[in-house]
């Protein structure tokens, strides 16, 4: 179990050159397609890529080019129409327990935060833990710990309506880490935030990713944000048109 202990040894991704064993392959897509409305909308038109353990991939591209759709495929929120999409060598479309995959392997962060309005911060963070056999007390403890690690130790019992945008996104980040995922998927996580909050939320996501050696796939419009990534994937009209390592 990945714990967010600030004193934990930081696990850095191994640099490619010095690696004796290459970093594990996390995602692999070949000819990945996604249609909507019986093929009238082609959101993904044959996408190929490989993402390895610990990478920070920024996905950029104009509105409607298929960024969110791609993230949904990676998170098993929806099924591809054609092509191959593997997670650690297994087809995501054929996972026996897609909910379990979403609960334990993946953490998702949305642009609109998507907290449940009738639950407090600490309760929202516990939601994904119901799919594990963690007992009640330990659920609460871990949620408190996670909220402290995102700097919200003083907002545990606040309802979402009483939190600022930045605070809401911090709760959502804590929730995404609930079950110690190995992959973080973030769809324009700072899209609803002002520039100060954008900066601190990104720093938080990047710090947590580094501390826990998570793979991060982040969709953004902002080229300044994309520059922080180890790799930038540019999409257009449902295809990947450029794939650069960080400069």
């Amino acid at each position: 179990m990945n714990d967010t202990n600030p004193h934990a040894i930081m696990k850095q991704p191994l640099p490619d050159s010095s690696a004796t064993t290459p970093p594990a392959l996390v995602f692999e897509a070949r000819g990945l397609k996604k249609d909507y409305d019986d093929g009238r909308v082609q959101a993904l038109r044959g996408v190929n890529f490989r993402i390895t353990q610990g990478e920070f991939v920024a996905i950029i591209g104009p509105s409607g080019c298929g960024k969110t759709t791609l993230l949904q495929m990676l998170g098993a929120l929806d099924l591809p129409s054609a092509g191959i999409l593997h997670y650690r060598g297994r087809s995501i479309a054929e996972l026996p327990d897609p909910a379990g995959y979403r609960a334990r392997e993946i953490g998702i962060i949305f642009q609109a935060f998507h907290l449940l309005p009738t639950f407090t911060a600490v309760e929202n963070v516990q939601m994904p833990m119901f799919e594990t056999d963690r007992p009640e007390l330990s659920r609460t403890e871990r949620a408190v710990e996670l909220l402290k690690s995102v700097g919200l130790g003083h907002r545990l019992d606040h309802f979402p309506a009483k939190l600022s945008g930045g605070e809401k996104q911090r709760v959502a980040i804590a929730r995404s880490l609930a079950n110690g995922p190995s992959v973080l998927l973030a769809d324009e996580p700072t899209g609803n935030l002002d520039s100060d909050n954008t900066k601190s939320i990104l720093e938080l996501i990047i710090r947590l990713r580094r501390e826990q050696n998570m793979t991060l796939v982040l969709v953004t419009h902002d080229l300044n944000i994309a520059r922080m990534a180890s790799r930038t994937v540019q999409m257009k009209d449902g295809l990947i048109v450029a794939d650069h390592p960080a400069t």
């Binding site: 929806d78 909910a99 609960a103 609109a112 998507h114 449940l116 009738t118 009640e136």
Partner: protein, 371 residues
């Protein structure tokens, strides 16, 4: 936070709607409790009435009216001759208005017959003879009619005197106006007519022998039907009708309850579509969402059931104090009926949640990312 907290929070989010749904379902359950309780109580107390009079078999002609149809008094003598009949007492029983009370049991009993023996005097005295213009009142009847010993009592066109107040040992008895059969026949112009015969069988008869005796009586007296006491009310058409009505009304109330809960749960699912999608996106299994909805509606049913049982009991208590029916109800509110009512409410809750739960399970997590 436990899963149960999530369920409760789901009901708390729209307190007014939850409250109104609770009222709806609890009224349904209250109707079940009140109607079934009353009709079962009626049956039970009628049976007790028979028992305290020491009646084994009742001979009467329970048609569709509330009071049995009259037949000739000679039937009594024919039946009394049967070897296994130990004793017979002719009665004319009527359900009629007496002074200010709209419905009273008037029970005119053969002078000297065994059906007088269970009456214990509380005050006053029994009539001196068969033709003295006197009545005795069961204690509830005395209360309802506001009479004490020595007061006059108008029956049909005749003014009688209340000579005694009695404890009959059963609700039916205590709610009755009791007088001599001959006097009553004289007043009402029903000479030679009776409509009930209480029969004591020879001691030690088995249940089968008792049934056999009934058949014998039926051949001897085709004018009426003999039935083992306690069973006879259940066989009366009027009682069956009341019983069917109470179950029918209850069923209707329950159906209304189901629709109410279903509507609420459907609204809740539509309203929480986005939230359900988010839960699915962060890893909840569809089965957990289904369970959440079903538990919510089951809890709604359970709470409605509890409130309904309380409401139904209170309603009957209020009903009992109404002068028109005071002393005529002896509702049977046993723990079994309460448990059945609450269980029924929970079943109603779960059934009403099935469709909404199925709807919720068809939501897909990808909707969470849009909007």
């Amino acid at each position: 936070m436990t899963f149960f907290t999530i369920i409760v929070r789901g009901l708390q989010r729209r307190p007014v709607r939850t409250g109104l749904t609770l009222v709806g379902i609890s009224i349904g359950i209250a109707a079940v409790v009140a109607l079934v309780g009353i009709s079962r109580g009626f049956e039970a107390s009628w049976a007790t009435g028979m028992k305290v009079r020491g009646t084994d078999i009742v001979v009467s002609n329970m048609g569709s009216a509330l009071a049995p149809k009259p037949f000739s008094a000679t039937v009594r003598d024919r039946i009394a001759k049967l070897p296994q009949v130990a004793d017979a007492c002719a009665i004319y029983a009527d359900l009629t208005s007496v002074e200010d009370a709209s419905m009273m049991v008037v029970s005119a009993r053969e002078w000297g017959g065994f059906s007088w023996h269970n009456l214990k005097l509380i005050s006053g005295r029994m009539p001196h003879d068969a033709m003295e213009p006197a009545v005795v009142l069961g204690q509830t009847a005395a209360e309802v009619l506001k009479k004490k010993v020595g007061d006059p009592l108008q029956l049909e066109t005749k003014e009688l005197t209340v000579t005694g107040i009695v404890d009959g040992g059963a609700m039916v008895e205590n709610g009755s106006v009791i007088l001599s059969l001959a006097l009553f026949q004289n007043i009402t112009g029903n000479e030679g007519r009776i409509n009930v015969i209480d029969i004591r069988a020879a001691p030690g008869l088995t249940e089968d022998e008792m049934k056999h005796l009934c058949e014998q009586i039926n051949t001897t007296a085709p004018e009426a039907r003999a039935m083992v006491a306690g069973e006879h009310l259940g066989n009366s058409q009027a009682f069956r009708f009341i019983s069917a009505m109470s179950w029918g009304t209850s069923l209707l109330a329950v159906i209304v309850g189901v629709l109410g809960v279903m509507n609420t749960m459907l609204m809740t699912v539509f309203e929480r579509k986005q939230e359900i999608c988010i839960l699915l996106a962060i890893g909840w299994k569809p089965g957990r969402v289904i369970r959440m909805i079903l538990w919510e509606s089951a809890l709604l049913g359970f709470l409605g059931g509890i409130v309904g049982v309380v409401l139904g009991t209170l309603a009957v208590k209020v009903l009992e104090t109404l002068p028109a029916i005071h002393g005529m109800l002896e509702p049977d509110f046993n723990a079994g009926l309460m448990a059945v009512a609450v269980a029924l409410a929970v079943i109603v809750g779960v059934l009403s949640g099935l469709y909404p739960a199925w709807r919720s399970s068809r939501l897909t997590p990808s909707l969470a990312m849009q909007g």
